[in-house]
Amino acid sequence: MSPRIAYIAANTFREAVRDRVLYNLIAFTLLLSGAAIFVGQISIDIERLVVINLGLTAVSLFGVVIAIFIGIGLVSKEIEKRTLYTVLSRPVRRWEFIVGKFFGLAGTLVVNTFFMAIGVFGALLYVTHKFSKPDALILVALYFIILEFLVICSLALLFSSFSSPLLSAVFAFSLFVIGSFADDLRGFAGMAHGLTRWVATGAAYLVPNFSALNVISAVAHQQPMSSQLILQNTLYALFYSAMALSGAVLIFERRNLK
């Protein structure tokens, strides 16, 4: 990574950490993990399941919200405040600016997820009193959640590179919802015929497949994860992020900033 990208990433991280909304969301996630313990007490025999399901779902959803709401403002805010012109007047290329922003936001989310994960494991220890070997699978689910964040960050940046923050948020959130139904979309494509089949298949492969990255329920039931799934999900998320980032760079390179 070039020092310029690293510098922009570090600044993006610093700026995001200074954002008070971020702190509130972390606190809220920790509170949710606390709520998991309460739910476990009013139900029967699912204390561990509740902690894992609720904890990881909270990590995922709050991370997605953070990724979208910070990601959509990364470019537009710089234009609005006119700080972008200062940055671009230095020897910084436009693509370096986009990639730096991406790494900064991704770094923020990784740090954020780290603290949320501590909350989840703390709640789990409180409920089960000791860790068992299958609990390590939670780390796999957390890793997949981070991969999901990478995809969403890159999409938020893509939309932010050409659209207003409000529309970018709508686009990114819609893609998150559609991506959660990606398996159904593929099933629908399989049932359709003719042109509909081609369009549906194309759409099913174009939207991000978040359902493949969601293994929370399987991990809660201690179902083993194959190394092939981990490898292929990693490659999928990296390629998809690269695709969206490339799109963002292409658009931003041609954007008239005057």
């Binding site: 139900s43 029967i44 699912i46 399941l49 609720l54 779902t57 959660s180 139904f181 039931h221």
Partner: protein, 309 residues
Amino acid sequence: MKTARQRTTIIAAASLAISMAACILLLRHIDRLRPQASIEDVLYINSPKTIKRASLGFDGLMACIYWTRTVQYFGHRHFDYAHTYNELAPLLEITTTLDPHLLPAYQFGASFLAPKPPGGAGQPERAIQLMEYGIQNNPDNWQLYYNLGFVYYTELKDYRKASEVFERGSNVPNAHPFMKILAAQMAMHAGDFTTARMLWSATYETAREATIRQNAVEHLRAIQVDEDVTHLEALFTEFNQRNGRPPASMAELVAAAHLKGIPVDPDGDAYKLTPDGRVLVETPDDFPFITKGLPPGYKPGPPKFHSHS
């Protein structure tokens, strides 16, 4: 001297606190005015598939929420001594569709659905459907076969089916060895006290939940009473046939049958003998599951569980 800003702060804070207290008080009054049943007996979305779709892939969490809702629903209805559990089966269906591997929903769900009201919903067929769905999705779990066999045995008295299910379960890898014994015992001596005792002992030994273990203890106590009463009434009949008259008291019956002492129930209270040859327990409310030894016209109260094991 207070500034205008400080005065505003104090007034706003006081207004906030008063308004919040008023809201809470009013809501409590409103809750008393609204019929509770209309709040409890509503499932806004009935379709398990729709709920699964709407969960956006977080179906594990949704299943936990619906399972908790099921437990709360059953608990409230049970506590109210209700005779209808209209939403129980749909709630369980939603829960298990959301997460087909949520084992407690099958194991406890069947014990909520199968028993007759007010102990349960009185829907053993729905309990069997639930368990079969559980077995279909978790074929390697022998405990589900055990629970299903239990429903056939206790609620439907279908000993042949119970035996078949225990046999199926005994073939599952890592199945508890008693599954084979249960299958054989069920086929040959289904109605025996020994079989019933074996089933409930197995439940006590394998259950992790304290309430299930306690329930097993209560059933074991009830089996003991039923067996004692059956035995004592048989002794009474035998005495009557041999002597041409009934025994004058329990003491005379005990002496004639060479028993060690006046027989007592699991709480240590002596059984009572009536002139017409019925043997009764002292406090039937302490044995919620007994079928014998009950006074004529006895109506059971809500089940009382004992703290001892």
